[in-house]
C-alpha cells in the first residue's frame, strides 16, 4: 500500500437540520494538486469544505493528514486556509491588517515584507494602507486570497471564490489563482458550479457523485 500523503477524507457523513446532506464521502488530494469540485448550490460542497477546515464537525468519518487523524483538531491548529464567496475582510482593519492577520508569530519587519510580497502576487502592490470599504469586488477577493495564503497554509479551500464576480474578471482571476497556487506548491480544493471555471483552474475535476459513489 502506498503511504498516505497530504489530506484524505474517509467515509464522511454531514447532516443539515437533522437530515443527511452527504454520506460516504471520500476524497484525497495529491501534493501540489488543484482539485475542482462541481455541483449545484445547496448540495453540500460548502459543508464539506467547512468540515475539512475544521469550522464545522462531521457526524461521522475521518479527516486525516499524512495518515494522522485531524478530525478533532481545532480549526486554528490545522493550517488549512479557507476563502469564501464573500471576501469577509475584517472591516475594522486596513488591507495590510487583513493580510497580516495570520502572521502573528513573525517580527513586524518580516510581516510587512510578507504582506508586500503577497499584495504583489495578487496584483495589488501598494494597497496596504487602503480601507477595505473602498475596494472593488475583485480587489477585495484578491485581498482575501492574499490573507489566506500569507500564513503558508498546507491546503487552501476555495468556496466559489469568484461567484460574485462577472465572467471576464472570473476567468482572469481563475488563471491567476492557478498560477499562484502552482508557483507556491500549495494543494487546493476549489468548489464551483461553473464547468468552465473548473477546467480553467483545476488539474482534476470531480463531481459530488465521484466522491460518494465510487468509494
Amino acid at each position: 500500500m502506498i503511504p498516505e500523503e497530504g489530506p484524505r477524507v474517509t467515509d464522511l457523513r454531514i447532516d443539515y437540520d437533522g437530515a443527511t446532506l452527504l454520506d460516504h464521502v471520500h476524497l484525497s488530494v495529491s501534493p501540489g494538486e488543484i482539485v475542482a469540485l462541481l455541483g449545484p448550490s445547496g448540495s453540500g460542497k460548502s459543508s464539506l469544505l467547512r468540515c475539512i477546515a475544521g469550522v464545522q464537525a462531521p457526524e461521522s468519518g475521518t479527516i486525516s493528514w499524512d495518515g494522522v487523524d485531524i478530525t478533532r483538531t481545532p480549526a486554528h491548529l490545522r493550517r488549512i486556509g479557507l476563502v469564501f464567496q464573500d471576501p469577509l475582510l475584517f472591516p475594522h482593519r486596513d488591507v495590510e491588517g487583513n493580510v497580516s492577520f495570520g502572521l502573528r508569530d513573525q517580527s513586524p519587519g518580516q510581516r510587512s515584507a510578507r504582506v508586500a510580497q503577497l499584495l504583489e502576487l495578487v496584483g495589488l502592490p501598494g494597497f496596504g494602507q487602503r480601507d477595505v470599504a473602498t475596494l472593488s469586488g475583485g480587489e477585495a477577493q484578491r485581498v482575501a486570497l492574499a490573507r489566506a495564503l500569507a500564513p503558508r497554509p498546507r491546503l487552501l479551500l476555495l468556496d466559489e471564490p469568484f461567484g460574485a464576480l462577472d465572467r471576464d474578471l472570473r476567468d482572469r482571476l481563475g488563471v491567476d489563482v492557478r498560477n499562484l497556487l502552482h508557483a507556491q506548491g500549495i494543494p487546493a480544493v476549489h468548489v464551483t458550479h461553473d464547468r468552465v471555471e473548473a477546467d480553467l483552474v483545476a488539474d482534476r475535476v470531480l463531481t459530488l457523485a465521484d466522491l460518494t459513489g465510487a468509494a
Binding site: 464537525a57 481545532p74 475584517f90
Partner: protein, 528 residues
C-alpha cells in the same frame, strides 16, 4: 449555514448570569408584586371608582402625549432622513438630548418655564419634549434606508405628494412608526418623575399612586394591586403592537448608501424650518433651568451653588448636597459596571444560542416594559419578605439602576454583534487564531466602541434614575434626583434655588458622560 461550531457552544452559558440576574431582580420582584397584589385589600382597590379614574387618566394623558409626539416628529424625521439640510448631525444630536435627561430635572425645568405648572397640559408638554427626539431617531433610521425611487414611482403613476406619502411612504416606514409609537406610549404611561414634580396633585397617575400608597401610606398591597393593573396595560399595549407589526411585515430591499435631496418645494422648506424651530425649542427648558439656578431674589449670583458645597443645616435639609453628588457618582459607577458586564454576557449568550437566544433577549428586555416604579416596588417587597432582610442595603440602589440600564446596553451592543458575519470568526480560525483571539479580533474589536457608548448611556441612565431609586434609597443617602424632589417639597426660594443648582450640576454630569460616549459611536449600524 452556521451550525456545529463546537468551539462556541459553551458561549451559550454566557446567557446564564444575566438571565439569573434579571430573574432574581425583575421576575422575582414582579412575582412578589403579583403575590402581594392578590389579597383581601385588592378587591377593595379594584372596586373603588377612584382606581379606574386613575387608570383612565394615566392612559388618556399617555395617548395624548404619544399622538402629539408623533405629529411633531414625522416632519422632522422626513427632513432629517430625506433632505440634505445644513447641520443635520448637530440637529439630530440636539433633539435627542432630552431623552437622556433625568425626568425629575426636566419636570423642574418645565415647572419654572411654563405658565401653567400643575396641569395635564404641563405633563403633556414635558412628555412630548422627551419623546419627539426618540420618535425622530427611530423613524428616520428606517426612512433614510428606504429607496427614494419608490416615491418617484408613486409620482410617476400620478399620485399627489400627499397620496404618495399615504400610499407609498407610510406603509414602507410603518414598522418604525409603530415601534416608536409603542416606545413613546410606554414612556408616557409609566412616567413618574415628571408627573410627581409637574402634575396636578389632585390627579395622580398609576405610578404616583403606587408611590404614595407604598411610601407615604404604607399600603403595600394596594400599591401592588395597582402595579399589577399597570403591568396588564403594558402587556396589552405590547401585544397590540406586535400583532400590528406581524400584519405588515413588508420585505423590502433597503439601500445602504443614503441619498438626500436638496431642500426644494414648499413641503421640504416647511419641514426644514420646523426642524430648526424644534431644535431651538429643545434648548429652552435647559436655559430656563440654568437661569433659575443663577437667579437670587432680584439679582443674579452663584449663591445657590455655594450652598450646595456647604454642610447640612437642620432647617432646610438633613443631608449635605455635596454628599448626594458623591453618592450618585458611586451608585452610577457600580450600576454601569453591572449593566455593561451582564449586558455583554447576555449579548454573547443570545448570539451563541441563536433561536433559543430569543428568550434571553426577551428576558433582558423585560425591564424596558416593566416600569421603574414596579421594579423599585418589587425590589422593596423582595427585600422585606426575602429570606434575608436586605432593607436599606446600599447595593440595592445600583442593582435597581443596573436593571433599568441593562436593556439599553443590550440594544446598543447586540445590533453591532449581529451585523457581524459569523463566518468572520471561521476565517480568523483558519488563519490560526485561537477561539478567544478569533472573538477578540472580530466581534470584540468591532463592538469595543459600542461597549463604550453603552457604558456611557448606562451611566447617564443610572445618574438620573428616579423611579426605582426612590423606593430603594435610604433617607440618609439620597441621590441627586431624590434630593431635588425633597428640596422641591419644601417651601421657600432657597430650596428651589438649590434644587435648580443641583439639577444643573446633574445635567452637566449627564451630558459630559454621554458626549464622551457619543464620540465612540460606531460609524456603521446601530439604531439607537
Amino acid at each position: 449555514m452556521e451550525r456545529d461550531r463546537p468551539s462556541l457552544t459553551h458561549l451559550r452559558w454566557a446567557a446564564i448570569a444575566p438571565g439569573t440576574f434579571v430573574v432574581a431582580l425583575v421576575a422575582w420582584p414582579v412575582a412578589m408584586v403579583l403575590v402581594s397584589g392578590i389579597g383581601p385589600g385588592s378587591l377593595e382597590v379594584l372596586a373603588a371608582a377612584s382606581t379606574w379614574r386613575i387608570v383612565a387618566y394615566t392612559t388618556a394623558q399617555a395617548l395624548l402625549s404619544t399622538a402629539l409626539s408623533l405629529a411633531l416628529a414625522l416632519p422632522v424625521a422626513y427632513a432629517v432622513a430625506r433632505l440634505a439640510i445644513p447641520l443635520r448631525r448637530t440637529i439630530l444630536a440636539v433633539i435627542t438630548v432630552p431623552f437622556i435627561l433625568p425626568t425629575v430635572i426636566v419636570g423642574l425645568a418645565f415647572r419654572e418655564l411654563l405658565p401653567f405648572p400643575g396641569t395635564t397640559a404641563a405633563i403633556v408638554v414635558a412628555h412630548v419634549f422627551f419623546n419627539v427626539g426618540l420618535v425622530v431617531r427611530v423613524v428616520a433610521s428606517l426612512w433614510e434606508k428606504v429607496d427614494p425611487r419608490y416615491d418617484q414611482v408613486g409620482a410617476s403613476l400620478g399620485l399627489s405628494p400627499v397620496a404618495t406619502f399615504r400610499r407609498v411612504t407610510l406603509p414602507l416606514i410603518r414598522p418604525a412608526v409603530l415601534a416608536a409609537t409603542l416606545l413613546a406610549f410606554l414612556f408616557c404611561f409609566t412616567s413618574f418623575g415628571v408627573i410627581l414634580v409637574l402634575g396636578d396633585p389632585a390627579l395622580p397617575t398609576i405610578e404616583v399612586e403606587i408611590y404614595q400608597r407604598a411610601i407615604q401610606r404604607l399600603d403595600l398591597s394596594g400599591a401592588a394591586t395597582l402595579a399589577l393593573l399597570q403591568l396588564l396595560v403594558v402587556v396589552v399595549a405590547v401585544a397590540i403592537s406586535s400583532r400590528q407589526q406581524e400584519g405588515l411585515a413588508v420585505s423590502q430591499r433597503l439601500q445602504h448608501g443614503e441619498s438626500r435631496q436638496p431642500v426644494r418645494g414648499a413641503v421640504a422648506i416647511a419641514c426644514t424650518a420646523f426642524t430648526y424651530v424644534l431644535a431651538v425649542l429643545v434648548v429652552v427648558p435647559l436655559a430656563s433651568l440654568v437661569s433659575r439656578s443663577l437667579r437670587v431674589g432680584d439679582s443674579w449670583g452663584l449663591q445657590w451653588y455655594s450652598l450646595v458645597a456647604q454642610p447640612a443645616d437642620d432647617t432646610s435639609r438633613s443631608v449635605p448636597l455635596l454628599q448626594s453628588i458623591e453618592l450618585s457618582l458611586r451608585y452610577a459607577a457600580v450600576a454601569t459596571l453591572v449593566a455593561v458586564g451582564l449586558g455583554l454576557l447576555a449579548c454573547i449568550g443570545i448570539q451563541a444560542s441563536r433561536r433559543r437566544g430569543v428568550w434571553v433577549d426577551a428576558l433582558v428586555t423585560l425591564p424596558l416594559g416593566v416600569s421603574a416604579v414596579t421594579v423599585g416596588l418589587g425590589l422593596l417587597l423582595g427585600s422585606l419578605r426575602g429570606p434575608v432582610d436586605l432593607r436599606g442595603w446600599w447595593l440595592l440602589v445600583p442593582l435597581g439602576q443596573a436593571l433599568v440600564a441593562l436593556p439599553i446596553v443590550v440594544r446598543v451592543v447586540l445590533p453591532i454583534l449581529r451585523s457581524f458575519d459569523p463566518r468572520m470568526r471561521d476565517v480568523a480560525a483558519t488563519l490560526g487564531a485561537s477561539p478567544v483571539r478569533a472573538w477578540m479580533a472580530t466581534e470584540g474589536a468591532a463592538t469595543a466602541k459600542a461597549i463604550g457608548l453603552a457604558a456611557a448611556l448606562a451611566c447617564a441612565v443610572s445618574l438620573g434614575e428616579f423611579g426605582a431609586t426612590a423606593f430603594l434609597v435610604r433617607l440618609d443617602t439620597p441621590t441627586i434626583p431624590v434630593q431635588v424632589v425633597r428640596l422641591l417639597g419644601r417651601p421657600g426660594e432657597a430650596n428651589i434655588g438649590q434644587a435648580a443648582a443641583l439639577s444643573v450640576i446633574l445635567v452637566a454630569m449627564t451630558l459630559i458622560v454621554v458626549v464622551a460616549g457619543e464620540r465612540l459611536r460606531p460609524r456603521r449600524g446601530g439604531g439607537w
